[in-house]
Amino acid sequence: MYDSKTVRRRRVVLGLLVACSLILLTASFGGDGGAVGSVQRGFSEVLNPVQEGASRALKPVRDLFAWFGDTFTAKGKLADVTAERDQLRQEVLKSQDAQSENELLRRQLNLNQSLGIGAYGPVGARVFAQSSTVWYATVKIDKGSSDGLRDGMPVLDENGLVGTVSQTTRSASVVTLITDHTSGVSGRTIVGRVPGIVLPSSAGNPGSLTFSLTGGGRIAVGDRVVTRGTIESKYPSLFPEGLPIGTVTTVDNPGSDTQEVKLRPFADLRRLDEVQVLTKVPGAES
């Protein structure tokens, strides 16, 4: 059907394209990619406004589809949510008692440790693109180095910790989510202050995290895990203390050395929209 010249030309082009792909892969793999990385960031800078505009234009459609999905799933979750509400109501009563007692003790000790998120210089940002492969849990936000963002800064939404800034261009940044294989967050439970490292459960699983205990301690289903913050001033943590991460959903072999704890993140990492980046944290690049 084709003459030998056409077939040869086709094979040469195919070979060239494969070779180009391999050269690009080798040049950009690991680190910041050097010159190739700079060119990539430059092109990304050009694409950012287009993607951001498209994301804004498509938001109503996305919200409409999400509304249908949420309506279907909400009915199934009603019983669980009711039970959780009852439990939370009891916990609120207990925590109110504890809070008033705590305030009294703080006043007595003349301590002022009531640092809120406001002290960490939060910068609001909007998610406008998301990785299309299950192997990378990353999103792109519409704030970059010109807004004061640097690599390593923590990102959270209204529910809890989302991830950290991993790459920045002038007008946008890539956020690596806490479910990405490169992520690891030092955390502790609120009850019992059991320490551990929050790691991703598996690739492409935005609804589950693993809490790997660094010491002993008993953990129960329903316990809440927050960031541990800086333990030694020599090694400052990227994450301020007390940022909510997730709730314990399962504990295998509780109390033993091999116990395996799974968390459900507070933040819905499948549908991120508005987030906040904490720009004044001790561990981030300046």
Partner: protein, 197 residues
């Protein structure tokens, strides 16, 4: 020819932007659709292996650049998908059948998922793997199979005016070209008899 290239470039940019700003952020049944292999498969089926491979390279590069991912990974896979979709077009008799883009779309999705996973392991990406990943890949496969026909139809409609030969015309031409002059003469006589009777 310039018109065709311009239309293919526009198609690629639109698919890339819609993928990262809409489709990736819209999970269905635990997975998200991936329009990239479907678009490359469509271009390969409509325009041939050379154009399919080039389009795959360009779209892969666009996706990797826009998400600041490791360059070349997506391009490498999509080049193969585009090339083999074009070869499929050359090898099959009936490109008009709706089964062709459907099955080719499913095959392209499986190729994309499996190849991407293998490359990630080769690059020493130490992500733990569980049944959830397989479930997600299965959900993506089902979604992509459902979307294969619409994406192919959109691509064909968008490129129809610029394509030098429509698939149907190409099929007829190629089938008659395969006949020897004697066979063509017999065929002409047969058609005359049919018209007389």
């Amino acid at each position: 020819m310039k018109g065709l290239v311009a239309r293919i470039v526009v198609f690629g940019i639109v698919i890339g932007i819609v993928q990262v700003t809409f489709v990736s952020q819209f999970p269905v049944a635990g997975g998200t659709a991936d329009l990239a292999p479907l678009a490359v498969m469509s271009i390969g089926l409509l325009c041939g292996g050379l154009v399919g491979a080039s389009f795959g390279f360009g779209l892969g590069l666009f996706l990797d650049v826009s998400l600041l991912q490791t360059l070349g990974v997506t391009s490498l896979i999509l080049v193969g998908i585009g090339y083999f979709a074009g070869r499929l077009r050359d090898g099959i008799a009936d490109t008009e059948s709706s089964l062709v883009p459907l099955l080719a779309g499913a095959a392209a999705t499986v190729t994309m998922s499996v190849s991407y996973s293998i490359i990630q392991f080769l690059l020493d990406v130490s992500a733990p793997v569980s049944g959830v990943l397989l479930r997600q890949l299965l959900a993506t496969l089902i979604l992509n199979t459902l979307l294969a026909l619409p994406v192919y139809a959109i691509a064909r409609r968008w490129l129809s005016r610029s394509l030098p030969q429509q698939p149907r015309g190409r099929r007829r031409q190629s089938s008659s070209a395969a006949l020897s002059p004697l066979q063509q003469g017999l065929r002409t006589q047969g058609s005359r008899r049919t018209s007389i009777s």
